[in-house]
Amino acid sequence: MSRKLKNNLFKGSIYTASFLSIAMLLFLISTLIGKGVSAMSWEFLTSESSDFGSKGGIFYQIIGSLLLTLSAAIISFPLALGMAIYKSEYIRKNAFQNITNTLIYSLNGIPSIIFGIFGLIFFVNILNMGISWFVGGIILAIMILPTIILSSYQSINSIPVSYRENAASLGLTKWQVIHTTIIPRAINGGFTGLLIGLARAIGETAPIMFIATAFSGVTFPNSFLEPVSSLPTHILALAQQATNPQALQNAWGSSLVLIILVFIFSISALVRRVQYSKIKY
């Protein structure tokens, strides 16, 4: 086979792979828009659901999903930032560094249903916290922790050693060096990781369905220890009524709203990444 033919074959195969990936994504999104847009109305977005979701809107499901992701963000962000700084600035030995890497990647690879089961056994049963959005927030926080840690860690690692040395040579203590040169960069990277993590968390069903959500009859929670409705579990409930055209239409509408929320997080992450890549280091 000639070199030119090999080159063209390789080029053709990567073009085909790219085309198929984009085509599948476009098909999915266009189907969602096509089917979901007919359910979309101001009333659908702002009214309470009824009749197990087949009637009414998804207002409390949107609120519930946002509440879960917001609590996950508040819990996970400082923890991940602390871990990333500890990992980059305080762990020296290669062996320990490898162990932490393995643990973080392992945490990232755990199937989401396992997080749900863990939450059910530990928080709901052992700690007797009941089914609540707060427990859901904790579990989602644990789930997205590796994404934020790795994103912050990569940001910190991209800071040249000379910045630490220059800061230290001015008489700054280790904490001052971390505070002035490391943390601002870690926050930037961590925030991008957080948005990517939240884009994943908001669409998760398995980790929260046993521990944080109720399928119907729930409005705004009055305390930390009450369940909420969420978009993914609502879609699951509606999908189970697939023979009801109204329920099916609401499922498409809810899916479209969920995808829009995921897109908002993903695009925000992308914009932030581009913004901070412009910082000259």
């Binding site: 220059n166 800061a167 040579s169 001015l170 008489g171 040169t181 000259k280």
Partner: protein
């Protein structure tokens, strides 16, 4: 020309190295170095690449402390205290012994924030104090006239030569007694190099300057006292005229002639 006698009467600096040995991962980089630096002079450490010049310089403010598997023995006395002691206050040490590195490292902040970056970590500054410190130190490094209209712009917009002077201003702002310079002109064009060299000469009125360079002609232009280090050992030292005109050791002669090390 200075004579040997005048050199002996030069006030010595408060910085003296005695029997200093430094190794990284069991590899000896500095071997039994003993040096007393001259006060208010440009002390120049020269030698070929990898001879241990930078390691010596970086030992003087212990910026090497975090290096992997570093072992240090001997003493470095500053103000009659051995700074190699474990309980040494590194913040105090580095406030007194400032450092300018090979490549300028401007923080992603404004020009004025870069100047006050170090000093404002040591004490709280009023707005007026900050303005005074910025002006004073930018003037010291002859940068004020070039940047005074854009102090709030990012330091990264400056040319490399200006950035290096900004780094020097940042170091001067912490009011050190000694300034360490690790090949500060190696990434600069000839014009910026000359500007930094002029500054070194001007700064010695107030500060003791310790310069590491592999550029023999630069050492000839700016130094008052020269230390030649080769293969981790101090081969020869002397005042500039004596060192360059009548070197004593064969190794020094060879280095000055061919920039080659025969140690």
């Amino acid at each position: 020309m200075e004579t040997e006698n005048t050199i002996q009467h030069q006030p010595l600096s408060d910085l003296a190295v005695t029997n200093l040995n430094v190794s990284f991962s069991e590899i000896d980089v500095l071997k039994n170095i003993s040096i007393t630096f001259q006060k208010n002079k440009v002390n120049c450490i020269i030698g070929p690449s990898g001879s241990g010049k930078s390691t010596l310089l970086r030992s003087l403010n212990r910026i090497n402390d975090d290096a992997h598997k570093i072992k240090t023995s001997g003493t470095i006395h500053f103000n009659n205290e051995n700074i190699l002691q474990k309980n040494q206050d590194l913040t105090e040490l580095r406030k007194n012994i400032g450092m300018v590195f090979q490549s300028p490292c401007v923080f992603p902040k404004s020009i004025s924030e870069n100047v006050t970056f170090g000093i404002q970590q040591h004490r709280k500054l009023s707005k007026a104090e900050k303005a005074t410190i910025v002006e004073e130190n930018l003037k010291k490094v002859s940068l004020w006239s070039e940047v005074h209209t854009r102090l709030n712009e990012s330091g990264n917009i400056l040319s490399i030569g200006q950035q290096q002077r900004l780094c020097l201003a940042r170091t001067l702002a912490i009011q050190p007694k000694i300034i360490l310079m690790d090949e500060p002109t190696s990434s600069l064009d000839p014009l910026s190099t000359r500007a930094i060299e002029n500054l070194m000469v001007a700064l010695k009125e107030t500060y003791t300057v310790i310069l590491v360079t592999h550029d023999i002609s630069q050492a000839k232009r700016v130094s008052d006292h020269v230390f030649f280090i080769c293969n981790g050992e101090l081969i020869e030292e002397g005042n500039k005229d004596q060192f360059f005109n009548i070197p004593q050791k064969a190794e020094t002669k060879e280095y000055l002639k061919n920039e080659a090390c025969i140690c």
